[in-house]
Each structure stands twice: as structure tokens, then as C-alpha cells.
């Protein structure tokens, strides 16, 4: 200990050691920034592979040329690239990013590694909304056929998270209470969904099942624009809250002791999560695991500091769904599998592997 020197000054004998540590810290931070850049390249590469993959005979060269100069392709190929592959590839990136961002924020504000929008009832609520549209032809926005299902899913997903918010505020917004309420909402929506499925015609039931498996095939430029706008609106706010979210990783009590209004932080994070998850689920249906896996992988490689964790999660989520989209098109020849099935099938083993490797390393 250095009894005589005030705290603002470095202890003389240790100045050199402090400098070494400072440089080490700087190196760690540089490495993390490098990882984020690498992840951005990975997501970009995954999106390109996604663009190259499909049943139509388009070579990678044609795709690249078609992107710069659409007129170099024949009209049908132009349509395939610009109206099918590109919206699908962009939607994969955007939905992956949105779900991962929702997941990472949720895990932090609830201090629960299992939290993601879908474990807290968003997917079953959205499915309930979609079922009302598909089975009963009932919609919150009237009967515009194109928007009936996504609008219903959006409103129901949003409502479930708002209800969660409301219940939590009413009972004091503890993280544990929020998780329990979320599970309760999920089960209630699930039960109502089963009731509708029980009453549904065979055709409606089939449609509903397909909807809930999650699919990128419905993506068009309009839906891409809406998801992109949602992400563009929420990301800056998430970024601004990054420091406070990092502090929350030290515990709620500690964060409060730093002067952070945790209740308000949680409220606004839930608003962002609601928008992101509801928009994503409205246009592509249930794509599970991304919101859970992407933040975990990101945490393992860049740590808990949200300045790196948020972008890393978003990019991993984007890359994950883009790769899942590739797999969904190439696993079975001629058939595009629902994306939700693929993310679960591919995401789960990868996730288990990572967890086993980590716990093996610790033990």
C-alpha cells in the first residue's frame, strides 16, 4: 500500500506497471474492435453466399455483375435476383440483426441468460395474432389481405411485451417477476392458439403451421424497408444506452449506485425489444434461437462491454440467419425449408458445442 500518496496520483513505484497494464488493456480493446470488423465481413460474406444460392441457374459472376448492372441479365434472371434473392438475403441479415439485438438487450435487462423475446411469449402471441387472421379472417387493421397476417402478428407481439411491461411496473419491475410474467403470457397465448387450431379448417391449419415455422420467402422490398427502418431507429438508442447496459451487468444495485435509473433503462430497452421482435416475427414468422445464441457467442468472444457486445451480437445474428438461409435452400434439392427449422437445427448443436467447450475449459 502507498500510505502517503493521494489517490489521484499514481504510486511512484508502480507507474511502470500501470503503463504496461494500460497497454495490455488497449491491446484487448483493439482486438475486440478487430473482431467486430471481422464479424461484419463474415455477415457480408454470408449474405453473398446467400445471393449465390438458389434453384435458378445464376452463377456467382452473373450475380455480381447483375448487382452492378441489372441490364446485363435476362429479364427473368433480373427478377430472380432483384425481386427474390436480394430481398431474401437482406431480410435474413436484418431479421438476424434485429432478433440478436432484442435478445442481447433482454438478457442484460433481465439478468437472465435464457431470456430472448421468444422465451417470453412473443412468438406465441404473434402466432395467436396470425391465427386470428388465418383462421377467423379477423384483423386489427380491417381486411386488407396482404397485411392482415403480419399486422396482426405485429400488434399481438407488441401487445404481449407491453402487457409484460405494464404488469412489471405495477408490481415493481423486478427482473424475476418479468421473466415469470413473460412465461405466463406465453402459455396463455399458446393455449388460445391451440383452441384456434382445434377449431380451424384443414386448409387454415396448414397455412398456420407454415406461418409459424418462419420463412424468408415472403420477403419483398416493402417488408425489407420496414424491418430496416425499425433497426435503424432502435440501434442508435441501444448504442447510447450501451454504457448503462454494461453497468447493469454488475448487478442492479451496483448500477443504481452509479446513478443509473434502472427502471427507466429497463422500460426503454423493453420498448426497443418489443419493436424489433414484433417487426421481425410479423414478416418472417418464428425464427427461434437467434436471439438466444447470437448474444451468447458474442459474449464469449468480445466480453460483456456493450460497446462491443451490441454490434457483435447484431452481426453474429445477421450472419447466422444468412447462413441458415443458405442451408435452407441447399439442404434438400429443389426445396426451400422454413428458416425457423434450420436456425434451430443448426443453431442448437453449435450452441451446445460452445457451452460444452467453455465449461470443459473452466472445469
Amino acid at each position: 500500500m502507498h500510505l502517503d500518496q493521494p489517490f489521484s496520483q499514481a504510486p511512484d513505484s508502480e507507474t511502470a506497471a500501470i503503463h504496461v497494464r494500460w497497454q495490455q488493456h488497449r491491446r484487448i480493446m483493439r482486438r475486440r474492435r478487430g473482431i467486430v470488423v471481422a464479424l461484419a465481413l463474415l455477415a457480408l460474406a454470408a449474405a453473398l453466399i446467400d445471393l449465390f444460392t438458389g434453384s435458378a441457374a445464376l452463377t456467382p459472376t452473373q450475380v455480381m455483375r447483375g448487382l452492378w448492372n441489372p441490364d446485363s441479365l435476362t429479364t427473368p434472371m433480373q427478377v430472380v435476383l432483384w425481386q427474390v434473392r436480394l430481398p431474401v438475403a437482406l431480410m435474413a441479415l436484418l431479421v438476424g440483426g434485429a432478433l440478436a439485438l432484442a435478445g442481447v438487450e433482454m438478457q442484460t435487462i433481465l439478468n437472465n441468460p435464457l431470456a430472448e423475446p421468444f422465451t417470453l411469449g412473443v412468438s406465441s402471441s404473434a402466432a395467436l395474432g396470425a391465427a386470428l387472421a388465418i383462421v377467423l379472417d379477423w384483423g386489427v387493421i380491417g381486411s386488407n389481405a396482404t397485411w392482415l397476417v403480419p399486422a396482426n402478428a405485429f400488434v399481438f407481439a407488441l401487445t404481449s411485451l407491453m402487457l409484460l411491461q405494464f404488469l412489471a411496473q405495477w408490481r415493481g419491475a423486478q427482473a424475476q417477476t418479468l421473466v415469470l410474467f413473460g412465461i405466463a403470457i406465453g402459455f396463455s397465448a399458446g393455449a388460445l392458439l391451440s383452441l384456434l387450431q382445434f377449431m380451424a379448417s384443414e386448409e387454415a391449419l396448414q397455412q398456420l403451421v407454415f406461418w409459424s415455422m418462419g420463412s424468408l420467402a415472403r420477403a419483398d422490398w416493402q417488408s425489407v424497408a420496414i424491418v430496416a427502418a425499425t433497426l435503424a431507429v432502435t440501434l442508435p438508442f441501444s448504442w447510447r444506452a450501451a454504457g448503462q447496459l454494461t453497468a447493469l451487468r454488475l448487478g442492479e444495485e451496483r448500477a443504481r449506485s452509479f446513478g443509473i435509473d434502472v427502471t427507466s433503462l429497463r422500460r426503454w430497452a423493453l420498448v426497443r425489444i418489443s419493436l424489433l421482435a414484433a417487426t421481425a416475427v410479423a414478416f418472417v414468422g418464428t425464427v427461434g434461437f437467434v436471439g438466444l445464441v447470437a448474444p451468447h457467442v458474442a459474449r464469449m468472444i468480445v466480453g460483456d462491454g456493450h460497446r462491443h457486445l451490441l454490434p457483435a451480437s447484431v452481426l453474429i445474428g445477421a450472419a447466422l440467419v444468412a447462413l441458415a438461409s443458405v442451408a435452407s435452400k441447399s439442404l434438400l434439392p429443389g426445396i426451400t425449408l422454413p428458416i425457423g427449422i434450420v436456425t434451430a437445427l443448426v443453431g442448437l448443436p453449435v450452441f451446445m458445442g460452445l457451452i460444452l467447450r467453455r465449461s470443459g475449459g473452466q472445469g
Binding site: M1, F7, R21, E253, R254, S257, F258, I260, D304
Partner: protein, 271 residues
């Protein structure tokens, strides 16, 4: 640091739902440079008192710091003057000690400053955990984590420090280390209020001891003046002998838990 201001607590009360946790708490004239130990039985409201001072629980009564009356101030506003170390410790975070200290330093102000990292590293070094600066919190032992938490409370250089049981998980050497840091911080002109269970430790390091009992301050004064057999019986319900060591500091030998017959009735113990 605006040193030289006194802290005044007057008629402070805290009520959780229907329950009264603190009522009529007075701590007058706490001077800069003073190390105050806050002691009392379990559930006496020691942590609540610190939180009320920090603005983290709603409280009635008055807290004055210099000429400022803190009654209408939010926790966010008080944090400019207060470094608060709560009892809980983060176990699952993989932030490094340095990252966590930086977060504590940068919260509540916009943007990072160039020398933030050096400031944080200096504080960490002063607490004797320099080698741990780049280790993740979840890899540390309970005692090391406690010191990391102390770094987070101290790093903003606040003129008032509130430490909630900072030595609870520590061995003797680390206890000494933490109390020594608290003493030094006080000597530099800060007000330091520390919740302690160990009266000997309190008597050794603190200028004054405040005993919290039955929702209010039961006694407040120099260690020698207030630690008596009678106080121990009344407040903790133990039969104990108070002795004085060569340096003139009191220490306590507990012989038994007093039976109900020995204890004066609760209503008579306010003072």
C-alpha cells in the same frame, strides 16, 4: 472535489409499504476527514440508511450537505457527490476489473475522457489489486471482488463515500487493507461512512461510531465513549465484557446471549 462541507442528517425516515425501517434518524455535523462506522444488529436498517443518503430509497426528513438540501435530489444528482458501494457482488460478469471501474467512472456523464483509463488503473493500483486489473470479475475470489467493488465506488473521487459492509467477505489481511484505504480516503478530506459488524474493527479505525437500533440512532460518539457492557446488552442482547487494549481502544468479549429477563424492554431503549 468540493471538500470542506459538512453532512447533516436530520429526522430521516424510511417506510417500505406499511413497514417503518428508519424513523427519526439524526446524524449531525459529520465533518470532512471523518471516518464514521455504522453498526447495529442484523436488520437494524444500516444498509437502508446508506441507500437513503444516496437517494436510492425514498426517505422523509432532511439531508444537508454544505448549503445544499438534498431532499428533492434524485440519486442521479447525488451521485456527483457520493461513491456508494452496495453489499451485492456481481458474480456472472466477465467484465475485467478495469472495465468495471471504467463503467463506474463514465456513468452519468457523456463521453469518455482521454485519461479515464489511467485514472481507473491508478485507483486499482492503490487498492493493491493492480495485477488483477485485466482479469474478469467472475474469475476472482470473493475478497478480490470486494476490492474491485471498492475501486468502482472510489474511482469518481466523490467527497462522500458510503461503504456497505466492505469487509464482510475478507480475511484479516484484506480487512486491514480495506479499512486502511477507507482511513486514507478520509484523511484526504472525504466523509467516509462504513457499515461494520465487527465492533473491534470499528473502534480501531473509526473516528466516531453510530449505533443503529430500533429504527433510529441509539448512540453516536467516540468509540471509547459509547461501547459499553450496557450498550451491548441493550442493542445486541449479549452479555459481554468491554476491555481496553494498550492503545486505549475498546474491544469486546462476548460471553453469552442474554436471556429475555436480562434485556430491558424495547420501548425503553430509545436514546
Amino acid at each position: 472535489m468540493n471538500a470542506g462541507l459538512n453532512l447533516h442528517i436530520e429526522n430521516l425516515g424510511v417506510h417500505y409499504r406499511q413497514r417503518t425501517v428508519l424513523c427519526g434518524v439524526d446524524l449531525h455535523d459529520i465533518q470532512p476527514g471523518e471516518l464514521i462506522a455504522l453498526a447495529g444488529p442484523n436488520a437494524a436498517g444500516k444498509s437502508t440508511l446508506l441507500k437513503a443518503i444516496a437517494g436510492l430509497v425514498p426517505a422523509s426528513g432532511q439531508i444537508r450537505y454544505g448549503l445544499d438540501n438534498w431532499s428533492g435530489w434524485s440519486a442521479g444528482k447525488r451521485v456527483a457527490h457520493i461513491g456508494f458501494m452496495p453489499q451485492t457482488s456481481a458474480e456472472s460478469s466477465n467484465l475485467t476489473v478495469l472495465e468495471a471501474t471504467l463503467v463506474a467512472l463514465q456513468c452519468g456523464r457523456t463521453g469518455a475522457r482521454k485519461d479515464d483509463e489511467m485514472t481507473a488503473l491508478r485507483v486499482i493500483e492503490h487498492l493493491g489489486i493492480g495485477e488483477l486489473a485485466l482479469r474478469a470479475l467472475q474469475e476472482l475470489s470473493g475478497g478480490q471482488r470486494q476490492l474491485a467493488a471498492l475501486a468502482q465506488a472510489v474511482v469518481r473521487g466523490s467527497p462522500i463515500l458510503l461503504l456497505d459492509e466492505p469487509v464482510s467477505a475478507l480475511d484479516l489481511a484484506h480487512q486491514w487493507q480495506v479499512m486502511n484505504v477507507a482511513r486514507r480516503l478520509a484523511n484526504e478530506g472525504r466523509i467516509v461512512i462504513v457499515v461494520l459488524h465487527d465492533l473491534a474493527l470499528a473502534a480501531q479505525w473509526a473516528d466516531r461510531i453510530a449505533i443503529l437500533h430500533n429504527q433510529r440512532i441509539h448512540a453516536f460518539g467516540r468509540p471509547n465513549a459509547i461501547i459499553t457492557d450496557a450498550l451491548l446488552r441493550e442493542v445486541w442482547g449479549v452479555q459481554a465484557r468491554v476491555r481496553t487494549c494498550e492503545q486505549g481502544r475498546p474491544f469486546v468479549l462476548v460471553d453469552a446471549v442474554a436471556t429475555d429477563m436480562d434485556r430491558p424492554r424495547r420501548q425503553t431503549t430509545t436514546g
